[in-house]
Symmetry: C2
Subunit: 470 residues, 2 copies
Amino acid sequence: MTHTDSALPRAPDSEFEDHEALGEDYALTPAFVEKVVDAADDGDGLRLRGLLEDLHPADVADLMGFLTAEHRMVVVQWLPPDLLADTLPELDDGIREEVLERVPHLTLAEALQELDSDDAAAVVEEMEDDQRERVLAAMPEVDRAAIESSLGYEEESAGRLMQREFMAAPQFWNVGDTIDHVRAQGEELPELFFDIYVVDPLNRPIGGVPISRLLRSARAVPLSELMEPVNEITVDQDQEEVAYIFEKYHLISAPVVDAAGRLVGQVTVDDIVNIIQEENREDILRLAGVADEDRGSSVVEIVRGRVPWLAINLGTAVLGAAVISFFEATIEQIVALAVLMPIVSAIGGNAGTQALTVTVRALATRELNSSNAVRTFWRELIVGLANGLILAPLIGVAAGLWAQDVAIGLVIGTAMVLNLLIAATVGVLTPITLSKLKFDPAVSSAVFVTATTDFFGFLIFLGLATIVLL
Amino acid sequence: MTHTDSALPRAPDSEFEDHEALGEDYALTPAFVEKVVDAADDGDGLRLRGLLEDLHPADVADLMGFLTAEHRMVVVQWLPPDLLADTLPELDDGIREEVLERVPHLTLAEALQELDSDDAAAVVEEMEDDQRERVLAAMPEVDRAAIESSLGYEEESAGRLMQREFMAAPQFWNVGDTIDHVRAQGEELPELFFDIYVVDPLNRPIGGVPISRLLRSARAVPLSELMEPVNEITVDQDQEEVAYIFEKYHLISAPVVDAAGRLVGQVTVDDIVNIIQEENREDILRLAGVADEDRGSSVVEIVRGRVPWLAINLGTAVLGAAVISFFEATIEQIVALAVLMPIVSAIGGNAGTQALTVTVRALATRELNSSNAVRTFWRELIVGLANGLILAPLIGVAAGLWAQDVAIGLVIGTAMVLNLLIAATVGVLTPITLSKLKFDPAVSSAVFVTATTDFFGFLIFLGLATIVLL
């Protein structure tokens, strides 16, 4: 998204604000949402427009998330066209898809012309094929070409992410030349930019000058004296990698080059913030076994995203049940074992999930690689042992007292220590292995870890009990 | 952190790079880490310094995370002082604490003078009281005052986060006045800035001018014509709220004002990226029951952070066991129930965690409030019912066939549907309730949700079985 605002446009106590859309926490107030719902129910278009027209596009997108699909459609009808345009890139995927289906293609074509190339492309890529064709056909050649070329890059690549508008200067210019050029060419340049990219005669970036540095230098200073080393993003780089580079080096903007090293665009930090949030959202949801879903997802889409994981879990739970059934004879003799066995598996599952989550997070932030993998593994194993030695006496004594049988206490305590060691092992090794095999370590790790701790929890506890108690 | 780099300083194929510290993915290579470890083991200080001196501070911090505590201390000894200074704010908390303990206070005092006030304060706040006093005493008055004033604000507030260096201009200036001032005052200004804040005679911000807009305007244009509405962050605002505002409105920088509305500092987006990552990290770890820990945490610290949650879980598991023990007589008669009961609780726990995670995430991104809470709840309930109606026949038929008893199939199927409805209910209501009560919805939600689904899973399954089968 490139309509970066350098200043905060609407806010609770701003003099520019004429109604109370936002609460003190800068989120839309339920009272405001209520007003919009009322106006939509009454079909009161003028009142709706009055409520909507002063909102920031980000707040309109937010509002849409709070509404039902029916109310969203009424709101879309009454949104001023330029506000609709700015709102489209801000919407949740599911809601954008729904909105795109309802807006006439000529309105869309007009709206998209208002956007920077990266935002327009991000919207167009969500369209169905026939709609995309009709919308693009209704746009001026130059805008269409920019969008088509952007869509030519892979999804989630720097090519898709970049904006084609940037400020470049030849290496022999000085500060004065550059400022004069910016003043003359103002309209061609992006609305906001943060760095000037210095290029060689083949249009390859050789350095960057932050514009605050340009501003503080005398007109006669050559750019080559001000520039710092710059390292290019390539068009085919994955957006997650781009985000990592921005985050690590605290970048505000970076030049994007094609395969020949020529400057073709730039990525700015505001896009990166979105990507970081997106990647974090994916990680946290995947760990819980939830496919991507948002407020615009239908119940069918949500169920389709969640049931497979539950079904796999059902399969692993059956595996756990199979272990138990193997010991049916033991349980028949000592029913207390049936009472106690879920304790062993539950704590194992929780400890495994702790180790797993820490490991997944460390992999995602690249804090874990082969330099420290072995050390991390040993550390988790020691943590598992320590957890076990702390918790086992608790449950051992409690179970022994309850069952009036010291042996049962010893069995459950021992089983717990062993299962916590297994939890630490699978908790660390599962995501590391998935990552080595180039799979997303967050996906399906959790199901495997809890399946393993259930399986071994039952096996060790009931197995030990069979040996010791019978 | 305000030593924002506008360009990427070191990278794999950069001409400025003279050794292969970074891999293609911009992360340190295990081979480079190995070289550092070897040099540290050999006590070869010159070689160490050669390896380290060209690294970006972010990469030094990264390197420290991959080393053992012993190797870290050797590296710290050989880091050039200015690189040490820039590295301090980049370190993981646990590692920074450890490094601070080992560096002489005069070295620290010198290092801190190199940093912007917010970075220096962030480092000083980690020190033990007596070290802090000695380090501050060794610093020049002006630097000490800046740090002390920063530490006067609450932790995690905008006051802590802001840098005191910014560029402000009176409202009657034009573009030319502003550029001339920047050129003259260059040294006083922050190294990088992105917006010029226009202030009234009482030093209250009345607007902001992105410097790219300044650059493209003629010298005679008054700032008042260029400025956009700006909304201030107040010094006591929580950093999470500041991050939300930046993210929502795609801000690059924002002015910070004191209680009287006077401009006292600015927050820049690069700090926000760190905060977003920190908050996400907290959420994901807390959902798994892990207190804050990082690569610098000792085993004791890690165990101390994880055992409480496991202990609580042990308590809830005992509660589940109590339910089972209530049905001991039933299990004695039909041992198959002991085999099947963990299936009902496991699937309930997983479905509950799915609903919980989605809800926690929606609360964190403020996508869920009282406007859509009821709708969200109903949606999850319908999803839970749908999940149940899909999965219950599977397990019902399988269990019925295995036990050679249709009634057992019916009981487990019914129990599963009911437990999935309970899972949806607690999965949504637990985080919403915690959030209403101003608790962090991520903390301890998971333990409560799985405790509930275990409890009711056992209760419904064994209860139904007792009624139907006996």
